[in-house]
């Protein structure tokens, strides 16, 4: 309704907007004119912006409770300033440093194992000539991506239970059944393995897309120069998908510390805290189970800041070294 009237008035009143080169580049139009031309666009953005301000920026500001005493039922921004009390608390908390170490190890393992595998799978898929086979493999490998983490955790538990397939194989080979999920030494492997299972196929999509953009004449040229298949892959294909690899690497580094919190929460138990407890699960227990909200907020803020710093520095390094940047 609004749009129609504004539109018509515009057409009747002056020249149809936006035909020809957009005015307002270079010369500053007064806001009144901008509003008459684009008011509807701004109105369309109002609700989403309100949403972002309340549900995304609200909690960001809510982090001030890391520096203020918080009383349940009181103001969401806390009661009075306490300075760095809670920061001091976690810096002197050995459990915090323990879970910090766990997070770094799990994050690093996930990155080291989980980052290259989709590239390998994409390269293998790229060599498949039978379209139907390729499509079937793709469809099957994307599937786990669409499962709820609850279901993935359920599957992991069933496969690794004392009656599960893994223990059946162990026993068939003469070994003894192991309650894997109760053994801290297995937790990281279980976490990384299930992560790879769920993300491997989906991770190939962007690489496969990038592979189709590699110039075919480069392969031909390499072939004429006597490059075999392997050398073609090394000298043509991989450089061709390098920008995609770098972009995804930066994004992965940025989320490094946000180790799949929900999956850890579903899979770990007090028996596996030694290796499985990560920053987010620790702050969840401290904050929402034991109700030390300010203390947990301080830890969460620290984690979010590290994440931001990491993504910014990864991006900076990548821009310096390769010219590829997220923005």
């Amino acid at each position: 309704m609004v749009a129609e009237t504004v539109g018509r008035r515009q057409v009747v009143g002056r020249r149809p907007w936006n035909t020809g080169p957009p005015r307002g580049h270079g010369t500053k139009l007064p806001w009144r004119v901008v509003w008459r031309r684009d008011g509807v666009l701004y109105l369309m953005a109002v609700l989403p912006v309100l949403f972002l301000l309340i549900f995304r920026y609200g909690p960001m500001l809510g982090n001030v409770i890391a520096f203020r005493r918080f009383r349940p039922g009181g103001s969401i921004f806390g009661e009075e300033w306490v300075g760095l009390l809670y920061v001091d608390m976690f810096i002197n908390d050995p459990t915090f440093w323990h879970v910090f170490g766990n997070t770094v190890i799990i994050g690093a393992l996930t990155l080291i194992v989980g980052f290259p595998l989709p590239i390998v799978l994409a390269l293998l898929l790229n060599e498949v000539r039978k379209k139907a086979f390729k499509r079937a493999v793709q469809s099957i490998s994307y599937l786990p991506h669409f499962l709820s983490v609850v279901i993935v955790a359920g599957m992991v538990m069933q496969l690794l239970s004392l009656q599960g397939t893994v223990n059946q194989i162990t026993e068939a080979l003469g070994g003894e059944a192991v309650p894997y999920l109760q053994r801290p030494e297995w937790f990281r492997a279980i976490y990384v393995g299930s992560e790879v299972w769920q993300t491997l196929g989906w991770g190939t999509i962007l690489y496969l897309a990038a592979l189709t953009t590699v110039d075919a004449s480069l392969y031909e040229a390499a072939r004429i120069d006597g490059a075999n298949r392997w050398r073609q892959t090394w000298h043509v294909t991989l450089p061709g998908i390098r920008p995609t690899m770098i972009t995804l690497l930066i994004l992965n580094i940025g989320t490094f510390l946000n180790v799949g919190f929900e999956k850890v929460l579903l899979l770990y138990s007090p028996l596996t805290y030694a290796t499985g407890d990560v920053i987010s699960t620790y702050l969840y227990r401290v904050g929402l189970v034991s109700n030390n909200l300010s203390y947990a907020a301080a830890i969460g803020l620290f984690q979010a800041c590290i994440g931001l710093v990491m993504v910014l520095s990864a991006n900076l390094i990548s821009r310096r070294m390769t010219g590829a940047s997220l923005w």
């Binding site: 129609e4 307002g24 989403p48 599937l143």
Partner: protein
């Protein structure tokens, strides 16, 4: 280096028919065979957990407890399906999931498409501020504690809005959508403008009908996200009658739900064993809707994701 020098001769060579590349060598054929085997193994690994769950859902609790069930049901029966189908709590949770998914996806789509359209217009003043406002949230988020405090303060605890609203804009989806709108041919919109259509009219009557692939992809992404979500419900909901099916399943798995023992009473066996096949059936009934829509939207989502990679 190698490729640069040969660039110039490549077309000549191709014309002369020198394309008997290493693709036809014995080495490459061996590679093809190995590659096929590797990919088949990958498929098997991807599918195995699904197959086991299906097999367990049809197996007798005794066979599962004895560790006999792998890829094929042992002690075939439909009792578990019957027991779950008669469980009112399960269907209540299932209904909640359907409701949350439907409402959540609708709200998310309205917010995402309108915002994406507004910020897809290059001439819009303040556009970079709006984009920055959204993109920043990708790299810095409030964290669960302030979120929890906010949701509590808004009085949304123990209401479905706690589950529905916080997930309503995914910035990744927003950017994919924006890129799609930017790539639409401008002429159509300009023609509509001359015909006197306002922005909103253009958006509804020209842009959205042209955007079916990306809209289908986004509907899939949002509905899968809502369908699969359990953590928001776990955090914010205490009343069982509000639980979505994922939380119901989580409680089943954690053994915290009374339903597990109800199920055990039905079949008259031990809780541990019965819950394995009840879990399996619940998992399958939770996955099925996703499996049903998956083949239809698959062709859309691949193009949708690729679009995001080009411009996102």
């Amino acid at each position: 280096m190698v490729t640069q020098n040969a660039m110039t001769v490549s077309s000549v060579a191709a014309g002369a028919g020198i394309s008997v590349g290493p693709r036809d060598t014995r080495g490459y054929r061996a590679f093809t065979a190995v590659n096929t085997v590797v990919l088949l193994v990958v498929c098997a690994v991807m599918l195995y957990p699904f197959i086991t769950v299906v097999a367990q859902s049809f197996s007798s609790p005794g066979a599962i407890k004895a560790g006999l069930v792998n890829v094929w049901p042992v002690g075939f029966n439909l009792d578990t399906y019957r027991a779950v189908a008669q469980n009112g709590t399960f269907w209540g949770a299932y209904g909640n999931t359907v409701l949350y998914t439907f409402l959540g996806t609708t709200i998310a789509m309205v917010l995402t498409t309108t915002f994406a359209y507004a910020i897809s217009k290059p001439h819009l003043r303040g556009r970079s501020v709006l984009i920055g406002l959204a993109v920043f949230t990708m790299f810095f988020n409030g964290g669960i504690v302030p979120n929890y405090v906010l949701i509590s303060a808004l009085g949304m605890k123990n209401t479905m809005w706690a589950v529905i609203l916080p997930g309503a804009i995914s910035v990744f989806n927003l950017l994919v959508m924006k890129a799609f709108f930017e790539n639409l041919p401008r002429e159509l919109e300009e023609a509509a403008q001359i015909d006197g259509l306002g922005w909103f009219g253009i958006f509804c009557r020209i842009v959205l009908p042209l955007s079916k692939p990306v809209v289908a992809t986004m509907v899939l992404f949002y509905s899968v996200a809502y369908w699969n979500d359990w953590f928001a419900a776990f955090l914010y909901l205490d009343k069982q009658e509000l639980f979505p099916v994922t939380l119901f399943l989580r409680n089943l798995i954690a053994g915290a739900s009374t339903t597990a023992s109800e199920g055990a009473a039905v079949a008259g066996t031990t809780t541990a064993a019965i819950s394995a096949n009840i879990q399996a059936v619940t998992m399958i009934l939770t996955i099925i809707p996703i499996l049903c829509v998956y083949p239809f939207v698959q062709r859309y989502f691949v193009s949708g994701v690729m679009l995001g990679s080009v411009k996102g």
